[in-house]
Each structure stands twice: as structure tokens, then as C-alpha cells.
Amino acid sequence: MPVNSQQTAEPILPAASADELHAISQFLYHEAELLDAHRIAEWIELMADDLTYVMPICENQGPRDRHQQWSSPNELAYYDEGKEHLRLRLRKLESARHGRRSRNRGRAI
């Protein structure tokens, strides 16, 4: 979600111990390995069931209207979806037709 510059600057995350940071970085490497290996279904199952991810639209606004530079929750957004949509996107990737398009493209390049 957009960061409101009016708020006082506080750390985004609570302080983590070295062990916790190590566990987090190992988790990120694990995600990257699953995605590199196209094990996308397994990667999706790492996500929380109530996951939502949002990428609002940003507009170029003057100083007076800067509070409305991000699209609001009832407006359009690049992404505004959850785990079921990750699965939907995977079904698209795995459909036979999509695979054929991808392989054709790979050969051409």
C-alpha cells in the first residue's frame, strides 16, 4: 500500500534478530528456486490463504492534491487480488495453448 508521507517516519518492520533475518533470506531463496524451476503451484502454496496484493495506479498530482495521487480501494488498480487469482494465473500458464505459444516464441528467439 502507498506510504503516506504525512505520517511520522517509523520502521516498516519491527527489529529482527540475526537468526530471523537469516530465516527470511533463506525463505526468499527457496521462493526463487521454486520459481526458477517453474514449480509455481508449490510456490503459491507457500502463500497465506488470506493473502491480498494490491498495486494502485499512481497519478501525477500537484502539491495540493498529492493526497489523491494513488487510486483508492474502490477504484482501478494494476493488481488487487489474492491467492485464488494466483491459481487462476497458473491455470492460464499451464493450459496447453499457452504452452504452445511460449515454446514457439522460445524457438524463434
Binding site: E59, Q61, N74, L76, R97
Partner: protein
């Protein structure tokens, strides 16, 4: 008199409507593009904004007419003005934010200030430094002379002798009504405007939305398989129609009452709580049954405004040279829709036809690859086939007006290129008279 030559080539060599053959250099040649800016875009009705994007006095929205930046502003008397977004002093962009509400527009270079009507109202050091013959009245922002609306959509035209917008739409207005006048309250935009770049010629996008139901079965097969697998890989069994306008507009659709309101559900993976697809269809049916039967409608208003009514995505393909477009897209919703209907439509639109949408990415992939192929010298002179439906008689339709055809067809594409070619062949001076004479 029409020119026989366009950029040194015989007009019939660029597009042959009878044969159904396109010369792909029309998508790649810089000189042809420059002539399009002058002969097509500078005298066509171009989409600007929805009336409800700028409801209050001083509300403005910065957009483009082809490559020309313009500002559209709501006036004190409720009318709308569109003027070039260019200071008359040294040509600096006057308004540098996307939208808002203004009492004046002040240039950031030397602070020349313009009223919301575009008139020049203040010049710093005017009395001290400018001569006695300097008159602010001579240096207002350049007005676009013609601004007209159709059911909420504002269009503007640089050609002061252009035929009225309603006349230019002709029978195509009926098909715009399937989107704009489907419900008693009309439409309004959902907030938010997508802007993204696709490296392809504007005509690929405009033509596809005018005329191409054909690709959906194949290009979008994986998106269909992921959402409505029972329909994947098969041409629709529903009856379909395509309309070709004599002025370059085109549309295609299936005839299936209530289809669109149902189709929005699988696109989001679930029905939004409280969403009642049957209630939407019943409201549309009561308002106008024949328009309610229009389903998954694609349409282009010549030259570069398009929509797909399945999820009500509306977009302008702003040209950026022969090989690039900026897509500006928003979503229209019935003004009398319930909160659940709005949310269902919003989610369906951004997950299908938006920069990250599952359908949109299929289209962009095709257009980008075609444009890359056209970097090839031989590719640019290898004719393209646009013959689908040629020599076939599909007859007229008792319900739907105008030249109506089978949905799987390229008649509307041929119509778009035929009108494009006519504009490209029409010298600028003779244009005004020609347009005035070419009535319905």
C-alpha cells in the same frame, strides 16, 4: 479531388479494399505516420474524456489528441473547452499534472497565466517591459474549435468544418448505445486511469477492436481455459454480428441476452457478495431488449477510441510514432449500478482487460511481435491478407442497423482501412468541403 499518391506510393498499393490486401508498410513508415497526424488525426473526432471525469467548474483533465497535449476544462456555464496544452510564449507545457481543479493555469517557465477558458489573463512585467501593441487577447491558449458529446463521451476535432459528431457516428451510434445507454441512468467512470506503452502501430489495436472476433478463440484460449474451460478452443456457438460503418467505425458481438453480466463472475473467480447477474440483465432488458442482447462487444470509433463491453473497458490508442502507442484505459459502469455490481465489474475489468489482465497480455503480445517482424525489409513488403468474409453474403439483420455481417469477418477492418485511405488521400484544403458534402 483525392490524391493518387501517398508518400510517393500509389494509394491502391497501400490498401486494396476490393482485393482485401494490406501493405504492411502502413504500420512502419515514418512518412506515412506524419501524414496520418495531419490528414487523419488533425481532422477526426478524437475522444477526450467522460463528462463525469470533470463534473464541477474548473475541473480539468490533461490528455492528448494524437501527439498534441490538450487540457479539457469544465467552464462556469457548464460547457466544456479543450485547448492546446502549450504556453503561447515559448511553448512550455502549461498544465503538468494529470487532473484536478484549477482557477488558472500558470506556466512554470515565465509565469504567463491562463484562465480556465484558456484566455491569457496575466503576463508578469507586462506594463514595464512589453510594448504598447502587445495585447493579451491575441495570445490565449489555442482552442480546439469543435467539442461535442455523445451520451457522456466528450470528443473534440481540430477541423472547424468537420461534420457534427452525431452525424459522423451515424448508425454506429446505435452500437455505442449498447454500452452508453444500456441502463436507464447512463454511465459513469470508475475512478482510476490506466496508462501503459505498447510498442506497436495504433492501427493494429484500432482494427482489432473494430473487427476481430476471430482471434479471441485462439489468442485468448489460455485465458478462457483458466476461467470458463467449457468454452475453451471452440468458436462460440452463439449467433454473432459485425457492423461496418462508411466512416471507419466497426463493431462485433454475439447475440445473447444477459451473457455479459454472467461472464463477469468467472473472470473474478467468484461472485462479489450481493452481486446478482440476473438483476443486471433484467434492468437492461427492461430498458432496451435488443441492446441487452449484445454480448462481449468489441468496438472502435474511428480512429482510436475503442471499448470492450464485456467488462466495459474503454481506451484511447494515442499514437507515438509508427511503432508505439500509449494506451489510456478506464472502465464505465452503469450510473444506477449497486455497490456490488460496481465491485464485480471493477474486479472483472482489472483482471481481464488491464495492463496485468489475463486477456490484455495476449493482445499486447501479438501486436508487439508483429511490429518487431516489420523491422524486416522483406516483411515490410510482404502483403497481408484481410479477405475474411469477402465474396460472402450474410444479408442484413432485422434488429441491428446498418451494414451488418457475420461476427467472424474482416468487413469492418476493410471499412476502417478504406476510410483511413480516403482521409489520407484527401488534401487538407479540400477536406472541409468534402466532409461537409459526405452526409448520411
Amino acid at each position: 479531388m483525392l490524391d493518387d499518391l501517398i508518400c510517393g506510393r500509389a494509394a491502391s498499393e497501400l490498401f486494396d479494399g476490393d482485393a482485401g490486401v494490406i501493405n504492411p508498410t502502413i504500420y512502419a513508415d515514418r512518412r506515412i505516420y506524419e501524414q496520418e497526424l495531419e490528414r487523419v488525426f488533425a481532422r477526426s473526432w478524437l475522444f477526450i474524456a467522460h463528462e463525469k471525469h470533470i463534473p464541477k467548474t474548473g475541473d480539468f483533465f490533461a490528455t492528448y489528441m494524437a501527439e498534441d497535449p490538450v487540457v479539457v476544462v469544465r467552464q462556469k456555464d457548464g460547457s466544456v473547452r479543450v485547448f492546446l496544452n502549450q504556453c503561447r510564449h515559448r511553448g512550455m507545457k502549461l498544465c503538468r499534472v494529470d487532473r484536478g481543479n484549477a482557477r488558472a493555469f500558470t506556466c512554470s517557465y515565465h509565469a504567463w497565466a491562463y484562465g480556465i477558458d484558456g484566455s491569457l489573463v496575466n503576463v508578469p512585467l507586462e506594463k514595464e517591459s512589453f510594448g504598447p501593441d502587445f495585447r493579451k487577447a491575441d495570445w490565449g491558449a489555442r482552442q480546439v474549435p469543435r467539442v461535442e458529446s455523445y451520451k457522456g463521451l466528450i470528443f473534440a476535432n481540430w477541423d472547424d468544418a468537420a461534420m457534427p459528431l452525431r452525424q459522423h457516428l451515424g448508425e454506429a451510434a446505435y452500437y455505442l448505445d449498447a454500452l452508453l445507454d444500456r441502463s436507464p441512468g447512463g454511465t459513469e467512470p470508475i475512478g482510476g486511469l490506466f496508462k501503459w506503452v505498447i510498442p506497436c502501430n495504433w492501427k493494429f489495436a484500432a482494427e482489432q477492436f473494430a473487427s476481430d472476433m476471430y482471434h479471441a478463440t485462439f489468442s485468448h484460449m489460455s485465458a478462457v481455459a483458466a476461467t470458463t474451460p467449457e468454452r475453451a478452443g471452440q468458436p462460440s456457438p452463439l449467433p454473432g454480428r459485425q457492423f461496418r460503418s462508411p466512416r471507419g467505425h466497426g463493431t462485433g458481438f454475439y447475440v445473447s441476452p444477459g451473457f455479459d453480466s454472467e461472464w463477469r463472475v468467472p473472470q473474478t473467480g467468484h461472485a462479489v457478495p450481493g452481486y446478482d447477474a440476473a438483476a443486471v440483465a433484467a434492468r437492461h432488458e427492461a430498458h432496451n431488449p435488443s441492446r441487452n442482447a449484445i454480448a462481449t462487444q468489441h468496438m472502435t470509433v474511428f480512429p482510436n477510441f475503442s471499448f470492450f463491453a464485456g467488462v466495459n473497458t474503454c481506451r484511447v490508442w494515442h499514437p507515438r510514432g509508427p511503432g508505439e502507442i500509449e494506451v489510456w484505459a478506464f472502465c464505465l459502469v452503469d450510473a444506477d449500478a449497486t455497490a456490488a455490481e460496481r465491485e464485480q465489474l471493477r474486479q472483472a475489468a482489472l483482471r481481464t482487460f488491464s495492463p496485468a489482465g489475463t486477456f490484455e497480455q495476449d493482445d499486447g503480445e501479438n501486436w508487439v511481435e508483429i511490429q518487431r517482424v516489420l523491422r524486416g525489409f522483406e516483411a515490410r513488403r510482404t502483403p497481408m491478407n484481410a479477405q475474411m468474409g469477402r465474396g460472402r453474403e450474410f444479408g442484413s439483420d432485422p434488429t441491428y442497423p446498418g451494414s451488418v455481417n457475420n461476427a467472424y469477418n474482416e468487413d469492418a477492418a476493410r471499412g476502417l482501412y478504406a476510410y483511413w485511405l480516403e482521409m489520407m488521400r484527401t488534401p487538407v484544403r479540400a477536406q472541409n468541403q468534402g466532409q461537409a458534402d459526405a452526409g448520411e
